[in-house]
Subunit: 291 residues, 4 copies
Amino acid sequence: MEKYVDLIKVIQNNFNRLSKGQKLIAEFIMNNYDRAAFMTAATLGETVGVSESTVVRFANTLGYDGYRELQKELQELIKNKLTTVQRISLSKDFTDYENALKLVVKKDMDNIEKTLNEIDYHAFQRAVEITLKADNVFVLGLRSSSFLAGYLGFYLNFLLSNVKVVTSGPSDVFEQLLKATDEDVIIGISYPRYSKRTLEALDYGKEKGCKIIGITDSLISPAAQYADTTLIASSNMLSFVDSLVAPMSLINAFIIALGTEKKNDITAYFEDLEKIWKKHNVYNTNNKNNK
Amino acid sequence: MEKYVDLIKVIQNNFNRLSKGQKLIAEFIMNNYDRAAFMTAATLGETVGVSESTVVRFANTLGYDGYRELQKELQELIKNKLTTVQRISLSKDFTDYENALKLVVKKDMDNIEKTLNEIDYHAFQRAVEITLKADNVFVLGLRSSSFLAGYLGFYLNFLLSNVKVVTSGPSDVFEQLLKATDEDVIIGISYPRYSKRTLEALDYGKEKGCKIIGITDSLISPAAQYADTTLIASSNMLSFVDSLVAPMSLINAFIIALGTEKKNDITAYFEDLEKIWKKHNVYNTNNKNNK
Amino acid sequence: MEKYVDLIKVIQNNFNRLSKGQKLIAEFIMNNYDRAAFMTAATLGETVGVSESTVVRFANTLGYDGYRELQKELQELIKNKLTTVQRISLSKDFTDYENALKLVVKKDMDNIEKTLNEIDYHAFQRAVEITLKADNVFVLGLRSSSFLAGYLGFYLNFLLSNVKVVTSGPSDVFEQLLKATDEDVIIGISYPRYSKRTLEALDYGKEKGCKIIGITDSLISPAAQYADTTLIASSNMLSFVDSLVAPMSLINAFIIALGTEKKNDITAYFEDLEKIWKKHNVYNTNNKNNK
Amino acid sequence: MEKYVDLIKVIQNNFNRLSKGQKLIAEFIMNNYDRAAFMTAATLGETVGVSESTVVRFANTLGYDGYRELQKELQELIKNKLTTVQRISLSKDFTDYENALKLVVKKDMDNIEKTLNEIDYHAFQRAVEITLKADNVFVLGLRSSSFLAGYLGFYLNFLLSNVKVVTSGPSDVFEQLLKATDEDVIIGISYPRYSKRTLEALDYGKEKGCKIIGITDSLISPAAQYADTTLIASSNMLSFVDSLVAPMSLINAFIIALGTEKKNDITAYFEDLEKIWKKHNVYNTNNKNNK
């Protein structure tokens, strides 16, 4: 484990020896290690305003044979290794809340944009088709991903029968997948630091022959190793928080795409529900507050 | 209720009589009623590429005295009145998944940008201060907002003692707020169609003298009526889905701002947790997948 | 509502005029109104050690035409009408914990015994058969009954596919039953004061043609009105607590009866799970504590 | 592990060699190993209708030095070792549902009676006092015990501030106990096969100096090792089900004892809630079903 932590230390220890351009790269990496880890030398250079060859020399200065090698270490660092304590210590100190808010929200926007630019439409289409055909749809997510799993399950329940959200509860995830078969699909949502139990559950489902759709942050994510189809949306590592804004946007698109195929069904279902909601007074219909 | 639904019908019935520029406005409103409802005549004109006076004439053609009057009706329509069935019927038919994904994700980006542009920093700062000072922090959200409430509660639990997520469960929301006092704060998350029970719970908390922070979509939201401080982030109405991407980004910023005030505490807490997580093997530390 | 509360008041107001034997009845009713409500005059007399005719005269003294009329009012009182505040005021003051414990536990034993004596085996058998044949099994319970529903669902999940616990959550109960059909069964658990939403959900399921198994406290319970088959186990009203001990025992028997029909299946499932549990170290296997 | 399983095999292998009286003992142990494990030779003899010395000879015949040694092995067997598959294979085949129901319910009654006979009133009183004095009350239970923990938390929430149910969820149990201090109490509910995570959480709480009340099945339970005060109520092992009927009855008594100390407070709270419940129509008040 020490090796990976060293990368940040190595940068810090060598900081004074770096050229002005290299310092820009160093600062960018320390503040945005999660994004930097997936940039090519060219993109990284462009982003901080230096040439690609400056990026390569930067890697050499730190003792790497090339940028590739540095990047690989950065990815390792990010994926499994960085503890929350280390992430907190790397996070910026905000002098005021305005800056905090701007920085966080802008990073979220960047992530959504990146998701849009890099999405694999064929994978997206396959994911929709697999889900529509499955006997049972298991939506799996633990820890902070459990809220996305719950959100996705909440909406899928309007579209499909036999949707089950698989998450921590009285029954463990294996018991919840006990009856899964090769006619079923598991939609596994997994983000760094990748809950071990999520990966074990995907492994268990895989053994049972389930189709697996991964919603995760990169093709090298451990969750992607189990998936037949992987949908990529970056999370945003902010100090001790993993922003799941881009994954949520991707999930919205996924629900809407499924809904398009089921438009008549869901209209009928919601006509049924609107009557019930009205009868039992679920939603606000009072105007007094708006006057 | 009929009056508001009529607005869309009125537009549809008069569509053929409209000028070319007015038709652009009509189409934009029917596809983006949730955003249009909060645009000035000038912004609306600019967005669809017509003059402000064309927008005003459009309102007149439909029988309104001015754009203001039309807009007000649009806001009513959006807030409480549009049933899910109506929203589904207004939603676009996607010819392919690529378009669905682009449209959804772009709308989410627009919403985040709007949140960033329109945020009230003083309200944000007050919200942070109130939360830090409170004896107990109740995070309230029902229906799709329950996932945001859970997500916010998940992270606040690292920062603060006595955080309680108040949501539907064996105990109703009133029982969960039974012991709340004027030293406590309720962070109420409420989005259209505004769950009635959420508003009732805010009313109950208000009576008990609790401070109330509203996270909602506009200052005219019924939830804002109860709030001492309101943080605005738009939801994104997509057919039967309410995208909560922008509110999630705002919530991230809120957590990070609180975390900045507690940096030393949370470092200590996470040092404690890292040991426990390592001991009990919570996170993936296996490299085999990356090789 | 006032009428029913008056019964207790009427007893209290007339107490001094009562004969010695009648006073025993009055005291028993005030301390055990929930059990008294379902006793015949003969049983009530026997329980407190007076003759049946003393019980009838007691009813006359209070102004009722006969014991039947008094009993009917007592049942009304108990079923829906007695508020928790009234129940607390009727409850005994314990001079020491030993008495509290003895009284509570003995009342629970009496309830279980009563359940055993009064169970309808044909109904029990029908309930097992309906459940085994159903496409989907919905286990419905709100408020304190939600823990029984969760417990029943936890075990049914080992025996059957497509078991869903329906309870308060992000989706309301109607949404959770949205796809239910006449091939499905709803096992509805409902105890005084009978959550309104549970009854509405049973009504909704009934409309959809679902089979309904009621687990409730008497055949005159409002939940029993919706049920095709009703299993009776008394709850135990203790001040503000509804002891669900007898219903839990009945539920155990129901699970075991279902399990008997599925013995080979569950052996295979648990062989699968035991491997998983061992691999992931779910249960304690450490002897150090026992040495 | 093999050693313990062997006890049952040893009995089965030697069955034909046993005397008539010894066979009765053997059958009783195979059908009621969970109860037999805690019986003295005298009680066991009395229960099956043989002399104490027959029980001792039975132990000798199986190769044990005395009954004590056999009993110790039986306790080990029961506590941690018997897998669910073994329990299913040991469980009776019911020829009809009536027998299933009678057997299950009677075993539950026996367990409650045993709880009542063996309860330590001083421990019970200490548990009440510790709970009343604590700053925060954490109610911990996983797997099937999570329903008891939820049930206890549901009622404690009316009596006490700062009650938190600690169970499997998005946050792990350690995170939920992160802020616990030596002014807090953890009420840990743990039944065979004793969830490992529950024991780890008790260990974590102990390190933080929390008071610990154990609700478990015997003083030799691993959960009891962490407890300052232990309340004993037997669970009832029925094939793959752990009946928690006796623990639920004990928990009722515990709630009622706490409620007695808080009678005025809870009356005020429920007066508040009754108004709210009436206003929002939570409970059934409709008579139509009873007419």
